[in-house]
Each structure stands twice: as structure tokens, then as C-alpha cells.
Symmetry: C2
Subunit: 238 residues, 2 copies
């Protein structure tokens, strides 16, 4: 996809510890103009992982089946590891993680309330969908970070988050309850809009809607394509 904006740096191929079938195709869009500063980026990314950890932990407590508990707790542990990895980056810079995360706490707590489903299956799908979109988004932004922190964060966010286990649990549930598929498909569609708003809130927008859309649109198109593949893997229509 062509861009009107001059590229200031070559496109970065980000390391992925474990290739996912949702891997993003690199599109040539200059993110420099909309790139958040490093600390807000880290603060928001860290708090999002903490929130994913909390949601998954809640689901662990709501699920009776021990094999499902295992899989979901592994995913919770992965989110927590990512959270602590980003917190370690903040500390490495001499900053206080609590202070750096604080500006995002209210917004993300509100987002978490919106993405808590009417039962644990919906909440579990919500974590899969929202973390999938937001991890991809923050990996994409990481190439615009200064110094060597970008590749480290991209590698951390791209590492195995236990998604396969979540997909298995949801596939079992959908297999056992045919009505669940349409409910989850609808729920999945509802989640995308709110998630993209969170992503958008991370960016420095110019206030010129046409110019902003032109920068953001290709990224969001990619994110949604990866989202559609994730829903397909569950047999759900995105």
C-alpha cells in the first residue's frame, strides 16, 4: 500500500518468538507522525497486559473443568509475564511503573468492564479478541520506538500467550452448545469497535481527520484481517 508520507526509516521486520497464523503482513505506513512517546507506550501496554491477566484469572475461577483451568491459567501466566517484562523496561529507564501506568488505569478499567461478558465464555473470547488486536497493534508500533527497546517489546508481546489453549477451550464449548457460536460471533463483532478505540487512543493524532485516517486506516485494516482469521479458527463469522 502506498503512502504519501516520506519514510524516515526502513520497515522493520519484528522478531516473533513463535510465528502465529495471525502474523501481520508488513505494510509500508509511516507511523512516526502518530507514534506515542516511549513512556506512555510502555505504560499503556503494561496496564493492558495486567488487565488481560486479571480477566483471565477471573475466568480460571469461574471454570469448573480442570483441563480448561489449566489452559486458561497458562494464558493468564503468559499475560502476567508480558506485564512484568514491560514493567522491567520501565524500571530499567529509572521510572516508576505505577506512575507510568496510572494515566491509563481508568480508561483500561472501563474497557475491561465493557469486555466482561455475560458468562465466562464471552469473557474468554473477549480476551482472545482484544489481546489479539492490541498485541498486534503494539507490536506494530514497537518499530517506531527509539533505541533497542522496540525489538525487545515486540518479541515479548509476540511470544506465546497461550492463545492455542484458549482456542481449544472455546472450540470445546462451541462444540458442546450449538447456540453458543452465534452468540459469540455477535459478541466478537461488538468487541472490535471498542478495542480499536483503545488502540486509537494510544496515537498522537493531528486533529486533521482526513490525514489521520489515511495514516491509521491501513494499520487497522491489517488488524481486522488478523482478527477475522482468529474468529475463523473458532468457526465464527467475524
Amino acid at each position: 500500500m502506498a503512502s504519501r508520507f516520506p519514510r524516515r526509516r526502513p520497515p522493520v521486520e519484528l522478531p516473533r518468538l513463535k510465528p502465529r497464523d495471525t502474523a501481520i503482513q508488513a505494510t509500508r505506513v509511516d507511523l512516526h507522525e502518530v507514534m506515542p512517546d516511549l513512556l506512555p507506550y510502555l505504560g499503556q501496554a503494561a496496564y493492558l497486559q495486567l488487565e488481560a491477566f486479571q480477566s483471565l484469572s477471573r475466568v480460571v475461577g469461574q471454570v469448573d473443568d480442570l483441563a480448561a483451568k489449566e489452559r486458561i491459567s497458562a494464558a493468564a501466566g503468559a499475560s502476567l509475564s508480558k506485564h512484568h517484562g514491560i514493567v522491567a523496561e520501565i524500571r530499567r529507564r529509572g521510572d516508576d511503573p505505577s506512575e507510568v501506568m496510572k494515566p491509563f488505569a481508568d480508561e483500561i478499567d472501563g474497557f475491561s468492564a465493557l469486555t466482561t461478558g455475560s458468562d465466562w465464555r464471552e469473557t474468554l473470547l473477549a480476551v482472545l479478541v482484544t489481546s489479539g488486536l492490541l498485541d498486534d497493534f503494539f507490536i506494530r508500533l514497537a518499530s517506531g520506538l527509539p533505541g533497542d527497546v522496540g525489538p525487545r517489546i515486540a518479541s515479548l508481546l509476540g511470544s506465546d500467550g497461550g492463545q492455542d489453549g484458549i482456542v481449544e477451550v472455546l472450540q470445546n464449548e462451541i462444540g458442546a452448545d450449538p447456540k453458543l457460536a452465534s452468540r459469540l460471533a455477535m459478541w466478537g463483532r461488538r468487541l472490535v469497535g471498542d478495542t480499536l478505540l483503545v488502540a486509537r487512543s494510544a496515537l498522537h493524532l493531528s486533529g486533521n481527520p482526513a490525514a489521520d485516517e489515511e495514516r491509521i486506516e491501513p494499520i487497522f485494516t491489517e488488524l481486522i484481517a488478523a482478527h477475522t482469521r482468529r474468529m475463523d479458527a473458532l468457526g465464527l463469522t467475524a
Copy 2:
């Protein structure tokens, strides 16, 4: 302390990845007679760590202060790692972790309900107190396990569980609310009895109460001494 029972193996000094001030003095008591079989031992120990993880995760969601969230989430992650480490031992033996844990699920879920406090401070103290007692207990039993699994499990259970962070959070809370100390001290005393019942349920008892008490009493005396030191560290009377 003398024992009427012949010792079948020399006392084992268990490795501790990080010495704690609550380290248990080795007392010469033969555990062989009361030792649980390996799989039930692993199943109960694994499920207890999962329960500690769930309780701590719930507290993470109830705490507003982000620095406290950090500390408690680190402790939750440590319990989860211990859980997954024990689950890996079960898998290594070709057994299904869910099946091995299942017989303990109801009892431990009930125990968890009993140790959920009227606010997050009580729940946090409960995890510190009950995990402290039970980790010490299972470390103690590990020396009676067959093969090389005992030292591995003892090392895993004795590894840093984020207790220092929990103690700091509780000390801050106690410092900010002078009435809290007496409430938590009373709560801590209530927890000990239920926790020792869980420990006791792990043992093969002979049905001869006098003989059983003679075997168990020295171990429980040590566990309570370590518990008293933990309460002291919080400025609470055990």
C-alpha cells in the same frame, strides 16, 4: 526430638532456592508411616498452588494502588509457576494433571471459601498464612517422596513466592489503619486451625489417635513456630 519409630532413611536437608527466615529446623521424625502416595501428594500440592494463584489474582483486582497490584501480581505469578511446575511433574509421569488434582478440588475450594476474608487485606493475609504453612508442610513431606522428585518439588515450593512483597503491602495497610492490626491478628489465628486440617488430610493416618499424634505433633509444632515468625514480621500477635 526422639521418636519411637525406626528411621528408614537419613534426614534429608532440602534445598531452598532462597533461604527464608521461616526456614524449618529439621526435626527427626519419621514421616514414612504417614506419607501420602506420590500422585495424591502432587495433585493436592498442585491444586493448592492453583488456589493460591486464584486468591491472589482476585486481590489484584480488588486493590486500587498500582504498586500494591504489582507486588501481589508478582506473588500470584509465583504461585502459578509453582502450580505449573508440579503439573509438569505429573505429566512427566504420564499422568493427567486434571485427574490427579480432581479428588482435592472440592475440599480445597471449600478451604478457599473459608479463607476468603471480609476485605482484600484479610484475603491477602490468608494467602500469606495458609501458603506459608502448607508450603512448609509439603516441603517437609517432600523428603519422603520416592526417586528424585522430592528435592525438585522442595526446591520449587521453597522458591521465592513474592512473600516479601505481600508483607510490605500488609505493613503499609496496617500502618495506615491502626485498627487493622487487631482484626488481622484475630483473623490469622482463625486461619491456622483450618490450614492444619488441610495438612492433616494429606497424611495417611493409622486410626490410632495416640500414635498418629505422636508422629504429627512435632511437625505441626514446627509449622506453627514458622507461622508465629511470619506474624511477628507483620507486627501481629500469632
